[in-house]
Amino acid sequence: MTLSIWRYSHLILAFASSIFLLLASVTGVILSIEPISNKLQPYRISNAEGLSLAETISAIDAQYEEVLSISQDKNGFVSATVIIDNQNESFYVNPETGEKLGDIIEKAPIYQFSTNLHRSLFLKTPGRLFIGLTSFLLFLIAISGIVLIAKRQGGITKFFSKIVRENYAQYNHVVYSRFVLIPIVIIAISGVYLSLLRFQIIEENQITHEIDFDNLQEDPTIDYTQFELFKNTPLSELREFEFPFSEFVEDYYLVRLKNKELLINQYTGDVISEKQYPFVTIISEWATVLHTGEGSILWSIVLGIGSMAIPFLMITGFIIFFKRPKTKIKNPYSKDKANFVILVGSESGTTLQYAEVLHNYLLSINEKSYLAVLDQYTTYKNMKHLVVMTATYGQGEAPSNAKKFKNLIHKHQQKAHFLYSVVGFGSTSYPNFCQFAYETNELLETLPQAKASFNEIFTVNDQSFESFNRWASLWGEKTNLELRLKKPTLYNTKKHTSSFVVLDKTEKASMVDSTFLLTLKNTNGAIADSGDLLSIVPSTEERERLYSIGKMERNVYTISVKRHDKGVCSTYLQGLEIGTNLTASIIENKDFHFPAKSKQTILIATGTGIGPFLGMIKNNVAKKGIHLYWGGRTEESFKLYKPIISSALENGSLTSFKPAYSRTQIEKTYVQNLIKKDAVYIAESLRKKGCVMICGSITMQKEVLKELQEICAKYLNKDLSFYQNRNQIKMDCY
């Protein structure tokens, strides 16, 4: 499995730095509050920026015995250091009047503690080194993260386009990181800079003034309030101001402004020396402000949010990692010896798992199988069968390990003839379903040596092992192999095998369209909800069949089954007498549970797909709005469900019921036609956070989704995926 270098480094770096990063980000959140609370102190005097230096200095000078220095911080608070009763004292002053406003803000112990932990983990210099490295790693993580998002979204220009939702951790990891990555990069870079400064890798040189002491003048003596510089410099420019140390002419006024430092002759007001701050000093100042948020409430908030996001991204990141199946390809036969070549295009590894099942099975029956990823495509001397199993990435593009395939297929021409079959993996709930699989199929069609095993391409929706198995058995027939594939263990959702007893069954005579209802009572307390799946294995030889459950009462579940003439399971179920025992297991299907929160739900089903809805309607004790659209063949077909639906309409647990009959002579209607008719209503329902649930055949699902897509575009100005991401569209189709 070739993980992209970006993903790999993103992860390695995250692991290595996780503990330090966690400490630094948590303390970072705390420290982001400090500049905000400081800034909110009332020591800033409005309109004081307009004062000149001369006015400010003389106002303060007049108030105190002796003033040593005056300074202004990033918050615009002016403070003075003065001698009072032979003691040094520093406090905030009003720059207009010189009056004391308050004591210098002392760093609260919590901030002192956090700062120490944040900077050095209480480990002095080694700690600072760790933190500096962590900061650098954070920078790399953020950069690799940006690259990953850009790749996932299909280009940097699509950075903020909608995200395909796979699960909570994946979706939110991407959603939140898109917004906080920029602040995080800034935090990281400035952090690295400050560390480099600290370890003198970047050197900050002090300004040195050269003073010609021999030529200092004492005449003409003028009052400092009349000095040109003091008169013309606004207070807003000031950083620090020091009075001359003594009355010797060698002692001067020291003035630090935003961008330069000046020495002023204390008698004549001449500029003795003037030096601009070096570039490094200015950069350092920016780095400090950007890293600490000092002086800006808004930026402090941004920094706080950025820091808060880091632990969240760490947790979701690790969840994504641990959820991703880990596989290693083992090939006992070399590529040129193998008769079966399985090529995989997979972004997350799920497709690869299924490929491994096939590969290992072939090996177990002594077939020479070779498994590789699409990007490793080359010549295979003994290849008789080629199987391509591929997912589709983002907006219908090749997965990351199949990007080069398009070029390679022409570069490496196979010498012998071979049969091929393409299996596409994806989710019908997204546009461009299995698009890359279709493209691959088209590419293979152009090869003269290649011949398709089937006329059609097979698709596997939502990792359904059942449909993969269906392909496998058909492909097995073509290759004269009997394939018995076992579901990979990782995907075996927890199953509780339990015992059921048949409570009720539609008699053969009253069956319409070969459909019947089977009501089972659980005898040992397995808990299921409508929408969960009942897994039945009719005999040890057979694979499992899944039926969507409608929970009618406590421990009583109904399934709607259509009997197929050759269907082993449906025939078996039809043959069950009332009172017979049955062993089956319940598979939780949380994604298809009735939405507890939405006030209004639209249920769409065809045929036996109504099964889970029967339970949902029955249990609608709260009498929330439920609208059921159902498609059947004829009015006769409805007979089976009529008693339940009618009583539900009467007692108000079902608001409306609209059937569509496709085989009626007069007017053929399909559910999608009904949806189109009620477009405005459905749009309104979606807007009000209502939920749409679809159960039935894939064909119906496609048509209904097409309608819904149009409704979203026309009435809601949004893409359907917007509602899918918010779990307002739930589907269980087969």
Partner: protein, 166 residues
């Protein structure tokens, strides 16, 4: 009854004694000097500098000023820390911010007049994170004739200048 009156008298006398004693111990400085600490262009973190009053027998009398705001590093100034920490001195009111290389700091030092011209001196000791500690970076004798002379430092301090306050 008699007994309680006695006790009362005794308590008053004690209190008075303590008050008088306290006012003597806690004398106000009567001479004040402005002091400039000019740092050299060394490389490294900001320096911690402590100014202490030293008696004619070379013993610490008290701490006049601490340039450094993070107690974490105080023990680095070994000799002073033994004295100051050992005698539980309260240094909260006399601590100021550290300054870096090439910078200068102007402070005010309060002294008792009796300490001038009687063999006392000011000791400046300094330390920088993970660098050398100078137990005596500079020493200024409290001699009214020479006090205005510039005193060169041996460590991070380039020179010390003192002038009487206004």
């Amino acid at each position: 009854m008699k007994k309680s009156v006695n006790t009362f008298c005794l308590v008053s006398v004690f209190t008075l004694q303590i008050l008088i004693g306290y006012s003597f111990v806690n004398y106000q400085p009567t001479v004040s000097y402005k002091c400039m600490i000019q740092m050299t262009n060394y490389t490294g973190e900001k320096a911690y500098v402590v100014v202490s009053l030293i008696d004619p027998d070379n013993n610490y009398v008290k701490t006049l000023y601490v340039q450094g705001d993070d107690e974490e590093w105080f023990p680095d100034l070994k000799d002073w820390w033994i004295f100051s920490n050992g005698s539980n001195e309260d240094i909260d009111g006399i601590a100021g911010a550290t300054i870096g290389n090439g910078e200068r700091n102007i402070i005010s030092l309060g002294l008792d007049a009796s300490q001038i011209d009687s063999g006392y001196k000011l000791r400046f000791e300094s330390a920088v994170e993970n660098q050398e500690y100078y137990p005596i970076d500079a020493e200024v004798p409290l001699n009214s004739e020479t006090i205005k002379n510039k005193v060169e430092g041996k460590g991070y301090i380039r020179f010390i200048r003192m002038v009487p306050s206004k």
